[in-house]
């Protein structure tokens, strides 16, 4: 088997989907995909430096900037999942009653209920910031805790503080240290979270295994991948929705 390296965000790895896909990829293509599980910024950085062969992240503006800089060949959307709001089981801010995601945030802000922000410029954090802006709020104050950690660690912190937090659904479902937290809000289409696959540019880094990256891409958009991704569930819930366009 040939090795190739792909940097991915923690939310993808923590979901458990990788454990399902990687053995299949190896069986079908002979590629042994080695995952580097890091923050979004670091994932892109590794790609830009030529230390990985492809990246799989979820932060469109950052991805486009990265492509413009000539770091990758192209961007291929693979699948999406969605973000949810998690909070204390008694939902003191009544965020669960909101219609829209922005409404939930407004409720939290109004109640000055503790809210944990990833605060690390990751895809998730950028999405959260967009939502605050959309809700017309510049969050600050004692209740708003920017922790600067990965998804799992931030969930641990929220669990410890019994605070609200925005998470991707997969990380939440896989998360074992829920404590008194529960899912309080979900379903607003604005919360959709697109994952995209980008091979590193072989013109910039001639040593990258571009052929393997292309082979992997072909597999990722295949029907087999579609079946596996759409069929992956946790506690009966579907986590990811395949949406690659097959040209």
């Amino acid at each position: 088997a040939e090795d190739m390296k792909m940097s991915v965000t923690t939310s993808f790895a923590n979901s458990g989907l990788a454990d399902v896909l990687l053995p299949e990829i190896k069986a079908d293509t002979g590629i042994n995909v080695q995952l580097l599980i890091v923050g979004t910024g670091q994932a892109l950085k590794l790609g830009a430096a030529g230390d990985v062969d492809a990246v799989l992240v979820h932060s469109r503006p950052a991805e486009e900037k990265w492509l413009t800089a000539g770091n990758g060949t192209h961007r291929r959307e693979i699948m999406y999942n969605d973000f949810i709001f998690v909070g204390p089981s008694d939902d003191p801010a009544k965020a669960g009653a909101a219609e829209k995601a922005t409404g939930a945030l407004q409720a939290i802000e109004a109640a000055k209920a503790p809210f944990v922000s990833r605060g690390d410029d990751s895809g998730t954090h950028k999405m959260e910031k967009r939502l605050w802006t959309a809700a017309g709020i510049a969050p600050e104050g004692d209740w708003y805790r920017a922790v600067g950690q990965g998804m799992g660690a931030a969930l641990n912190t929220a669990s410890g503080m019994n605070a609200y937090i925005m998470s991707d659904r997969a990380s939440w479902l896989k998360f074992a240290n829920k404590g008194d937290l529960k899912l309080v809000f979900e379903g607003d289409p604005i919360l959709f979270n697109q994952y995209a696959y980008m091979p590193v540019n072989p013109e910039k880094h001639p040593h990258v295994k571009h052929d393997l990256a292309e082979k992997l891409e072909a597999w990722l958009v295949s029907d087999k991948a579609k079946a596996l991704i759409n069929g992956y569930t946790l506690n009966g819930e579907t986590l990811f929705t395949f949406n690659a366009k097959t040209e």
Partner: protein, 234 residues
């Protein structure tokens, strides 16, 4: 390499502009680690000295244990303290999780074995020299301990400084129990982690340089203060 040189420039810029955020996290770093070093020294120095002068059956095992504990992975210590302090944990009512106090507790656990172990090594030598005299003079156990600690000031200082070094550079534990909360529990090392995750290696390296400079300065200051007092050997 450009990240590296960029880091140096960045560090200079941050320091020269007296960046207030930087000042805040630097001070917290110092506060937490100095406090932890103080507490750990109060436990570890006497413990190391005690181990050096007392003979008991399990002595060798205890010392190996202590040395082994030097390898305590910070993350595990962090988890352990988290489990203790979390609201569902036995000490949850104190509400210490995600406070500097929790970070101090975690660091104390990490650096006490280091301080004790180095102190033990040094005091063993001193005890070999002083043994006959102290026994002959009928010094009580307490007096033996105190005498060795007082006369072993220099190696004790080294032990404490090693602990401080370990503490101030530590991130795994304080990340978990402190939470790296902006303006509350963010210190230099957790900030470095954050910048690394963001892919801003320049900033991370800059903070790292500042941290190292800080650690070296504390060492220089303490060594200078300590040496001016006495002669060449002690």
């Amino acid at each position: 390499m450009s990240d590296f040189f960029g880091g140096i420039a960045q560090a200079a810029r941050l320091i020269l502009t007296l960046d207030p955020d930087l000042a805040e996290i630097t001070l917290l770093s110092l506060r937490v680690s100095l406090m932890a070093t103080l507490i750990a020294s109060l436990i570890g120095l006497p413990l190391g000295a005690w181990l050096a002068i007392n003979r008991f059956p399990a002595r060798r095992t205890v010392i190996a244990l202590l040395n082994g504990l030097m390898g305590l992975p910070p993350v595990v210590v962090g988890l352990f303290v988290y489990v203790l302090l979390s609201r569902s944990g036995p000490l949850g009512v104190l509400g210490l999780l995600f406070t500097p106090t929790a970070m101090v507790i975690a660091q104390v656990i990490i650096i006490t074995p280091i301080i004790a172990s180095i102190a033990h090594q040094a005091i063993r030598e001193l005890w070999a020299d002083y043994h006959d005299l102290l026994i002959s003079l009928g010094a009580t156990r307490r007096q033996r301990l105190i005498t060795l600690i007082v006369d072993g000031q220099r190696p004790m200082l080294t032990a404490s400084l090693a602990g401080f070094g370990r503490g101030i550079g530590e991130v795994g534990a304080i990340m978990i129990v402190g939470g790296n909360i902006d303006h509350a529990t963010r210190v230099l090392t957790t900030a470095i982690s954050l910048e690394t995750g963001k892919g801003d290696f320049e900033m991370a390296l800059a903070l790292g340089l500042i941290l190292i400079t800080l650690a070296i300065s504390v060492n220089l200051v303490l060594h200078t203060l300590n040496r001016t007092e006495r002669g060449s050997r002690w």
